[in-house]
Symmetry: C2
Subunit: 199 residues, 2 copies
């Protein structure tokens, strides 16, 4: 039995499909939408429709794009000699926020995960290799996540790309800045020790 | 500077206006909407528009309603001799879930809160009193929240309603079922002691 009128129940159902939104959050969001002004609800609804209408995948790097190419592929100021390979468009945002990378991106749209039946052919690996063909890229920074799937994908890509005479690097693992040795897991602390640098 | 294409930035902005949604959650939701199918995004967007179009306040009890009256006011099976007064429509859902109350509701749409400039005249108090006029209600259960504003509102209502010869009751405060004495705050534990019952 539902305790809600049908339009509310329908909104709750749609909200609960979103990641990280359980019944309690869905109810809070729905009641906020109901109590807020009409204009705010319309803007939210429109922005969902518009983002689907206007955003597509960049045909070159598979990041989200609103123009023909994404903003990084379209930017003539970017360093075309280095390319950062990431799993998802959100990772592009994370790397850009650091301000440490000025090259191009390539979004794999996933990681190799045999458990989920995802192999290299389900990812944008073929497209990555064809972008590397002309020899303009001299370094590929593999920035997949430092977990099992991400490491597997990184190793797989390194084995494919290194024979092309391109330098392949991996983002470092170690203790988070501001972190605490006491609370670090052994694997992370082990990596931090292994990758120690002269001061 | 924005790291997002404009339609994504706009969706993020609208999502961040929702309660409990910070930048990280907004990004996760937006990327989910972008990666999911068109149909799901359309359904979400439509359900927001529809809930605003179809839901209004019940003119009798001020709960949310999709028909002329809300489902409880429209239900001839409800016990019209008892009325439960709550702050918000979400509280009606909470009470219904217990299955312990079969009477009518009245939603105040807030609590008395002088700090926020909200007095009885901003709430649905006048409407409550006029519903009690015909004498059919013999008990009013005040189920405002057990915090300062809720208690103030409950006391205020009791002072208004008791002279009409109507019994006014208040939901009990005490330890939550499954709770632990050790972790209960002193005020709650004090209330639980004060309201102790013979076994």
């Amino acid at each position: 039995m539902s305790y809600y009128a049908e339009p509310i129940a329908r909104l709750l159902e749609e909200l609960e499909r979103l990641p990280g939104i359980g019944p309690k959050s869905a109810q809070r969001l729905a009641f906020h939408i109901l109590k807020g002004d009409d204009e705010a609800a319309r803007r939210l609804s429109d922005s969902i429709v518009e983002v689907r209408r206007l955003i597509h995948f960049c045909p070159r790097c598979f990041n989200f794009a609103s123009g023909d190419l994404c903003e990084y592929c379209a930017d003539p100021q970017r360093d075309t000699a280095s390319m950062c390979v990431v799993e998802e468009p959100r990772d592009v945002v994370a790397i850009e926020r650091t301000g440490e990378f000025r090259g191009l991106y390539h979004v794999l749209q996933g990681t190799i995960s045999p458990m989920d039946g995802i192999g290299p052919e389900q990812l944008r690996v073929r497209e990555l290799l064809s972008r590397l063909e002309d020899g303009s890229v001299t370094e590929v920074v593999v920035a997949t996540n430092p977990n099992v799937e991400g490491e597997t994908t990184a190793l797989y890509l390194a084995r494919l790309i290194k024979p092309l005479g391109i330098r392949v690097t991996r983002i470092a693992s170690g203790l988070p800045v501001g972190g605490d040795l006491e609370y670090a897991d052994e694997v992370t602390l082990g990596r931090a020790l292994e990758a120690r640098r002269d001061m």
